[in-house]
Amino acid sequence: MTWEEVIFYFVAALTVIGALGVVLSRNVVHSALFLIVALIAVAGVFILLASEFLAVAQILVYGGAVTILILFAMMLTRVRDLPAQMIGRQAPIAAVAAGAFMVLSTIAVVTTEFPGESENINVIDVNSIGGKLFTTYAAPFEIASLVLIVALVGAIILARGEEGE
């Protein structure tokens, strides 16, 4: 049991607990907090995979912006904590479906031979990522900015409301 593995299992457990908290909690705000836990844990996984840049970006965007957005939405829509409303009617079937999916995917993953698999986690150079972003993936990069603008404008229009504005 190397240190790496220990850390890995710890971070993994954290992620899973956070995820379970999100979907099973009766209290909405608790769910939001569990989400933050899960997101931070995923950032940890990224660090384990030697992509620090991504981990930092993850914390910044998700842990910061997205979570705040969600909390705001919860406030504005005055989500009630009634238990009856929390868990939907098709929960059992959903559990079955999700469970089936997990089992099948795991089988798929475990039985596949991935080509070019190396034993080591290789360090990925941040410089090269930046370079790639502006050369090979320049087009998606620009389009991504367009997407953000569209989302911005769209959100403003949608949320503006009808009261004579």
């Binding site: 939907g88 098709q90 079937i93 999916f101 995917s105 089988i107």
Partner: protein
Amino acid sequence: MGMEEVWLLPAIPAAAFVVLLLVGAYLPRRGDWVAIAAIGASFVLFFFVLADLLDAVKSEDFVGGGKSWTWVEFKDFHIDLGFFVDEIAIVMLLVVSFVSLMVQIYSVAYMKGDPRYGWYFTVMCLFVASMLTLVLADNLLLMYAAWEGVGFCSFLLIGFWWEKRSASEAAKKAFITTRIGDVGFLIGIILLWREAGTFNIQEIIHFAEEGGYGNTYLTIAVLLLFGGAVGKSGQFPLHVWLPDAMEGPTPVSALIHAATMVVAGVYMVARMLPVFVAADPIALDVVLILALITVWISALMGLAATDIKRVIAYSTLNSLGLMFVALGSHSVTAAMLYLFVHGFFKAMLFLGSGAVIHATEKQDVDELGGLAKKMPITSITFAIGAAAMIGIIPLSGFWAKDEVLTATDHHQNIIVYLILLASLVVTGMYMARLYILTFLGEPKDHHVYDHAHEAEPIMSVPLILLAIPAAIGGFVVFHEVGDTLGFPGGFGEFVYFDEPEKFKMHWDTAAISTVLAGGGALAGWFAWSNGAAIATRVRETFSPIATLLSNRFYIDELYQFVINNIIIGLGKLIAWFDRTVVNDTGVDGSAGLGYLAGNELKLTETGKIPNYALAIAAGVVVILTLFLVLEA
């Protein structure tokens, strides 16, 4: 002007038809003179063609002359508009053009005052044009087209007085019955064409003689071809339309149903006889058997019929049967000779009966009698015609009948010969009966008798003109007569099948036939004269047979039964199928299925998003499973 211009013969009446169709109503006298002039012109042109033919016949390898235009041509399929005249055709041409002319002149008086007077002559022109095309056609397809053309004109003319229900029914019956035969005819034509690659008659004959067709194939084709003749020429079992066709005006009966259209079948078979002979002998056996049946049943039915025109119609069937017996015995000479003289005396018999009808307004012999005193010309010419029909020497019918008997004697076995001889007796009886009941004895209805008068000249002159060839037309068989007229010899040396047949008097056949025919006539005279006392007693004694004969052997009832039950039953079955299976199940059903599906499937549109999301998840699971299973 010669054989090359023979196409003018049908063309001129065809042009007259178009003229009459378009402007006939506005011409003086409704244009009857146009029709007569056109047919007269054809008759005159005939002589030019004849002269040219007689000249050409002198050369050894003469087959025929004429002219042909290509009508439809693509790849290896072509149809010609071709006209061809040879010895057989020229005989027909004479009959058709002469009798047509006589009938048209006669019709001027007979049809006078009829509201559709002009239409009569219009259709008559079309008929003459079609008939001449049929005779002169050099390929089977053109002949078939003309065949249908004369059938159509026959339909129009039989149903000329269509206000009368029986007339329109008769026209329908004639058309449908002949149509049944024509289907076979067309299939036969196609079969012949398929192997030979041509519709041209001479080429098909050549092909058949060379053995180009398989034996069974050719026999079937030829029998189908004969089917058309069975319909058109009233052979058993398609003879039923001819007696009913008497609903039409009498000149129509004289021209179409005696001299010309009904013998089209004989003409066609005579033309195609080399092909018939090349087939299996069973083909001509079928021809012979049907002809013999026709000869006998028509004679028996003629004995019982009471309408003048009906009796003559049965005698026509009788004669047609004889012509086919001749053809079945490989004798084109006998068949064509009989056709030739028959055209004259039968047309004359009809026209004579027409004179009687025109004068007395009555057709039933039970209401006539003693007219000989009042209508001498009609009576004498009728007697000549009847005697020719019976076959009394030296009238034309005798020579023709003798030729048929001789052919049967030489080519068939003795039983056929005897059957034929026996029929002569019955022929003598029914013709004598007709004459006696109409013209002799005491008038049965004095009112009718008083009213009767001789026919006017326009009607009686054609009668006399037809009586002449009816009387002496038979002498053309003699070599000396033919030679004098410019022919290569007697009839048998002009029109023949294999070899020219110089006429030889067969005294034994002549004697037997005369005795039998005369005996029949005498028996008839005994039975029906003096108020038909003996005949009435015989009829009462054998009343079931008499009923059978007067009901025409119930053949019509049988056909009607078949049509009602089988054909209409089949129609009902198909209608049921269409209604239930195709419509209800197929059309309505598939529409209903769509509606049902939609109605049930719409319930999946719950509108609830979680449901849809679940569906997506379930789908992903299924696909994943499939992938894993198939991969493994």
